[in-house]
C-alpha cells in the first residue's frame, strides 16, 4: 500500500510523509511489517493474512484530514567532512564543470543545512537536500564501480554519504570519519527522515585522528541545541 503526497521533491511533501510515518507508527497496528517513507510517499508493507487492504486503508485515510506538520521534529546533526583531495576524487572535476574553485565548492557544500528526505538505496544512505544550485550536477554518465564507505557525494540538488562501499553515480567531493550505519547498534541508521544535517569541514589530520579514536556511530550524538 502506498500513500502518495506528490510526484516531486519538496520540503512540504517530505514533512507530510514524515508526519504520517510517525502517526502510523504510533498506532502500532498488527499486520504492518514495514513502513518506508520516501520523497513523495509512505509505503506500507503488510501481511495480508493478518489484515486486509480495505481495513488497513482506512487508517491512513482517517489520519490525513488532520495531519499536522510540525515545523521541525527531527534531530540536528553536525557531520565532520574532510574535503582533502586524496579523499575527494571528483572535487576538482566538479569545480571545473561549475566554473568554481574547489574552495568555493567546499564553501557552498558546507554552508548548507540539509533536510533528510529519506533513507534508501543502501542501508543508512541518506538523501539530503537541497544542495546549492551552483553545484547541482547530473549523475555521472558512467557510475564509479567502487565508492569507498563514508564518501560524501553530490548529484542534482542532493548530497549524501555512502555508508558502505558501493558502486554509485554520484560525484565524490569528501569523506567523513563518521559511521552512518552500524548493524550492531540499536538504531542501525544514524540519520532518519526529518533530521537536519550540516557538514563541518575538518583538516586531514583531524580526519585521521577521528578515524582512529572514533569508530563512528557510538560517539556521534545529535547536537542538543538545534541550529536555527
Amino acid at each position: 500500500m502506498v500513500v502518495e503526497f506528490g510526484e516531486e521533491i519538496d520540503l512540504d511533501t517530505s514533512r507530510k510523509v514524515t508526519a504520517l510515518h510517525a502517526r502510523v507508527t504510533a498506532l502500532k497496528l498488527s499486520g504492518i511489517t514495514d513502513l518506508v517513507p520516501t520523497f513523495r510517499s509512505l509505503a506500507i508493507h503488510y501481511d495480508p493474512e493478518t489484515v486486509n487492504f480495505t481495513k488497513l486503508e482506512n487508517k491512513p485515510r482517517s489520519i490525513l484530514p488532520d495531519l499536522s506538520v510540525d515545523k521541525f521534529s527531527g534531530r540536528d546533526w553536525s557531520i565532520p567532512a574532510c574535503y582533502d583531495l586524496d579523499l575527494s576524487p571528483d572535487l576538482e572535476a566538479v569545480a571545473d564543470t561549475c566554473s568554481l574553485s574547489t574552495e568555493q565548492v567546499i564553501c557552498l557544500h558546507s554552508s548548507g543545512t540539509y533536510h533528510v528526505y529519506m533513507v534508501g538505496f543502501l542501508p543508512g544512505y541518506p538523501y539530503l537536500g537541497d544542495l546549492a544550485p551552483e553545484i547541482a550536477l547530473s549523475r555521472k554518465v558512467t557510475p564509479s564501480l567502487r565508492i569507498p564507505a563514508r564518501s560524501i557525494a553530490i548529484a542534482e540538488r542532493m548530497t549524501a554519504v555512502y555508508p558502505l562501499e558501493s558502486p554509485g553515480g554520484w560525484h565524490v567531493i569528501g569523506r567523513t570519519p563518521m559511521k552512518l550505519f552500524d548493524e550492531t547498534a540499536t538504531r542501525p541508521a544514524l540519520l532518519a527522515p526529518g533530521d537536519r544535517v550540516r557538514f563541518t569541514p575538518i583538516a586531514r589530520s583531524e580526519y585521521d585522528h577521528l578515524l582512529q579514536i572514533d569508530d563512528g556511530i557510538n560517539s556521534a550524538q545529535p547536537q542538543s541545541n538545534p541550529a536555527t
Partner: protein
C-alpha cells in the same frame, strides 16, 4: 567439542537465509531472506524445524560439506540435485526427505538441475549471531548469515545440536513444489507511466529470463515496454515482486535483496504467493504474466497455507532403513488429515 559442518567446496553461491529481515526498510535495510520461501519451509519441516529457521540457500550448485559433529539430520528441498556421500561409505540421498550423516561423512550437493535453487536445512539450525533480528545474509551490506557473505572453502558452520535426535526420517513422496505459470501481477503503483496498451503488452508478451539475475532482481528479455511519461520518477518504496521498467523498456522483477526505494516506474507487482515460483526460473526459461487483483492475491496466499496444511499430512515417516513406518501411516489415516501432537515433524523447535 564444537559441532560444525566444514565447507570443503562452497558451491556457486551458498548463503544462510531465513524468512527475512523485516521492519528496517525505513533505514534502507533490504528484507533479504529465501528467494523460495516455500522450499525453505518444506526443508525445515522435514527436519522438524520451525518454518522461520535459517537454512542454506544453494544457488546453481551446492557445497561439499564434512560433518564435524556426532551426527546431523539434513533435508534438501526445492530444486533437484544429486546428493552424494563421497566418503567414507559412498551412497546417495534424495531431495524432499530427511537423512542423517555421521561424523567424518563428506557429502556433496551437486548442480541444481531443474530450477535456480534448492535449500539445505539441518535439524536444530545453525548457531549464528542474529543481525538486526534475522539470520539472512545480505552480501552487499556484508551482514547477516555467515559473516555477511556467501560460503567459502574452509568455513565452519556451527550447529545448534551436537547430534541428531534418534527418530524416524521424514519423506514428502510427491517431491514437487506448488506454483505454476503464468505469474499473477497487480498493476501499479506507476501504471499511469504507461499506456493501457503497454500494460496489455506486458501480459500478452512472452518474456525470457536473462542471464542478469541475482538475489536483487531478475531482468527479463522480450519486447520492450514503452514509457508514456519518461522513465525517471521521484524515488518511492519498492515491494518484493515490483516490476521496474528502466529506460531500455526491459522489465526487472525485484527479488529478496531488492533496494528499499527505487527511481524507475513500476508498472506492476508480482503477487506474493507467486514470488517463489518466479524466483525458481533460470536464465532462458520463458515467463508469462497475467493480471490479477488484491482479492485474488489474498486468496492465493490462503491457497498456499492450505497447501502447507495438506503437505503436513502427506509426510511419511520411514525408519533408518528407508522402509515406510506402517504405524505412522496408520496414525495419519486415523486422524484423517490432521497432524497429531505426537508428530515429530510438526514439533516446533
Amino acid at each position: 567439542m564444537t559441532s560444525t559442518l566444514l565447507v570443503h567446496k562452497p558451491g556457486l553461491h551458498t548463503t544462510v537465509q531465513d524468512l527475512g529481515r523485516h521492519g528496517l526498510q525505513s533505514m534502507g535495510v533490504p528484507v533479504s531472506g529465501a528467494l523460495d520461501s516455500t522450499a525453505l519451509r518444506i526443508a525445515n519441516h522435514l527436519v522438524g524445524n520451525k518454518p522461520t529457521t535459517a537454512a542454506l540457500e544453494v544457488l546453481g550448485s551446492g557445497p561439499d560439506l564434512e560433518v564435524k559433529t556426532e551426527s546431523v539430520r539434513i533435508a534438501i528441498a526445492g530444486g533437484d540435485a544429486r546428493i552424494e556421500r563421497l566418503s567414507p561409505n559412498p551412497g546417495r540421498f534424495r531431495t524432499f526427505e530427511s537423512f542423517c550423516l555421521q561424523r567424518g561423512d563428506l557429502v556433496r550437493i551437486g548442480a541444481v538441475t531443474d530450477m535456480a535453487m534448492t535449500y539445505l536445512a539441518v535439524e536444530g539450525g545453525f548457531d549464528l549471531p542474529l543481525a538486526m533480528g534475522s539470520f539472512s545474509t545480505y552480501t552487499r551490506g556484508v551482514f547477516g548469515g555467515f559473516k555477511g557473505r556467501a560460503l567459502k572453502t574452509d568455513d565452519e558452520l556451527s550447529l545448534v545440536l551436537p547430534a541428531a535426535p534418534d527418530r524416524d526420517e521424514s519423506l514428502f513422496a510427491e517431491r514437487a513444489l506448488p506454483g505454476e505459470l503464468p505469474i499473477r501481477i497487480i498493476p501499479g503503483p506507476q501504471d499511469d507511466y504507461f499506456s493501457p496498451a503497454t500494460l496489455q503488452a506486458l501480459v500478452s508478451n512472452e518474456y525470457t529470463v536473462s542471464t542478469t539475475v541475482d538475489r536483487m532482481g531478475m531482468r527479463l528479455q522480450g519486447p520492450p515496454l514503452e514509457h508514456a511519461r519518461g522513465f525517471n520518477i521521484t524515488s518511492d518504496g519498492t515491494a518484493p515482486g515490483s516490476i521496474q521498467v528502466p529506460g531500455d523498456g526491459l522489465p526487472i522483477v525485484l527479488l529478496a535483496d531488492r533496494q528499499t526505494t527505487g527511481g524507475y516506474p513500476k508498472i506492476g507487482c508480482v503477487i506474493s504467493a507467486d514470488l517463489p515460483t518466479l524466483a525458481r526460473l533460470r536464465p532462458g526459461n520463458k515467463i508469462r504474466f497475467v493480471l490479477s487483483t488484491l482479492e485474488q492475491a489474498a486468496e492465493a496466499r490462503r491457497d498456499r497455507d492450505n497447501w502447507f496444511a495438506i503437505f503436513r499430512t502427506q509426510i511419511k515417516r520411514t525408519d533408518a532403513s528407508g522402509i515406510i513406518d506402517a504405524t505412522a501411516l496408520q496414525t495419519e489415516n486415523l486422524v484423517s488429515g490432521v497432524v497429531g501432537p505426537d508428530d515429530p515433524t510438526d514439533s516446533a523447535r
